[in-house]
């Protein structure tokens, strides 16, 4: 049983994924309090909006810029926290005047692989089963990760398709209306050239 308690006392690892809307000209920052020596992975992807790009800046507690890039559609950054404190990740859509973006972000604090490992003891048959269970768990996590990425890419395509569908209808209706109006307007204008208006005597 003490092995169990050892296993669970390993440093806490947390992961949070959020999908949020970033309006035009907006800047959204997220903070995490991280201890020194902790491995972090920050991943982001623009799902919909404009040219599918966003600016991202990552700063450490002292304000030192760890990562800064502009107009990226997707990126993943891994770093080890040197100093303890609040790390800040900012997403900026300030370069865009009218397209709001939907951004997916995944911030993993701590090493998730190590979370489930503990001291192997080959003499205890239970541990072989436990190791297998841990290995399966890790692989399933990878599957979940792939599914998420697939879902995001597919969402981008699907939303574009829906937008296209809507636009085709609206523009077709608009164009038809313009054709009819133009036709009527042309006739009316032509008629007005030939109308018997009383002319001013010169």
């Amino acid at each position: 049983m003490w092995l169990a308690s050892v296993a669970l006392l390993v440093a806490t690892a947390s992961a949070i994924e959020l999908t949020f809307e970033l309006p035009d000209n907006a800047n959204q920052c997220f903070y995490e309090d991280i201890e020194a020596g902790v491995q972090n992975v920050l991943e982001f992807q623009v799902v919909t909006g404009g040219q599918y790009d966003v600016d991202m800046t990552l700063e450490d507690p002292h304000g030192k810029v760890l990562y800064k890039d502009t107009k990226k559609q997707y990126d993943s950054y891994t770093w080890k926290a040197e100093t303890p404190g609040a790390y800040k990740a900012c997403f900026s859509n300030e370069f865009s005047t009218f397209s709001h973006k939907i951004v997916y972000m995944d911030w993993q604090v701590g090493d998730h692989q190590n979370k489930q490992q503990h001291v192997p003891d080959a003499s205890h048959p239970m541990n072989v089963l436990e190791s297998s269970a841990v290995a399966i768990g890790n692989h399933l996590r990878v599957v979940d990760d792939y599914q998420t990425h697939h879902r995001l890419r597919e969402a981008t395509g699907r939303k574009r398709a829906e937008q296209l569908n809507e636009r085709v209808l609206l523009w077709s209706l608009g164009q038809t209306a313009v054709i009819v109006l133009m036709g009527v307007a042309q006739v009316l204008i032509l008629r007005s050239f030939f109308s018997d208006k009383p002319r001013r005597p010169y």
Binding site: L8, I16, T19, F30, L129, A133, R158, I179, V180, V187
Partner: protein, 211 residues
Amino acid sequence: MRGLAVLLAVFSTSSALYFHIAETERKCFIEEIPDETMVTGNYKVQLYDPNTKGYGDYPNIGMHVEVKDPEEKVILSKLYTSEGKFTFTSHTPGEHVICLYSNSTAWFSGAQLRVHLDIQAGEHAQDYQQIAAKDKLNELQLRIRQLLDQVDQITKEQNYQRYREERFRATSESTNQRVLWWSIGQTLVLLLTGAWQMRHLKGFFEAKKLV
């Protein structure tokens, strides 16, 4: 079993993400999930205190949590205290929108609020310590239960993926149809308008005795 009774870090001390919002601002997050998936959110709100130049706990701040399902129907709308936990289970697959806003009655955005937030979906939303205690599972059984939940969630996601692909295909086919029929339709309208114009003008000029 005592090994399993390790205290889960109290929310306020666990490493959670936080961000700042204005008092009257509404912040929304989108969760795209399959159906029958549980989503749990833990949050804590702090108010900026200009005297200490820091964020402190004020129990009187209330937070509205509103969750809308993919059909824009509100499935959860509750006022919680400054620190709370909300849970909902999806009954339709799709994008659920979770909105948080404080119950401030200010007319314009006054103070800054710091919101600590943790949203987990699917098997991440389960509290395994509680499940282990309730069903009296040893560590191996608990791990197997976790694996089962993970696989279950993967299956749900795959099903959802099939449904999404079906929708995408339907949208593409609809676009295809629309482009075809509207092109034909517009050509007809163009021809009819031209024919009407000619007929009308002919009649007009004949009446005017110009033709």
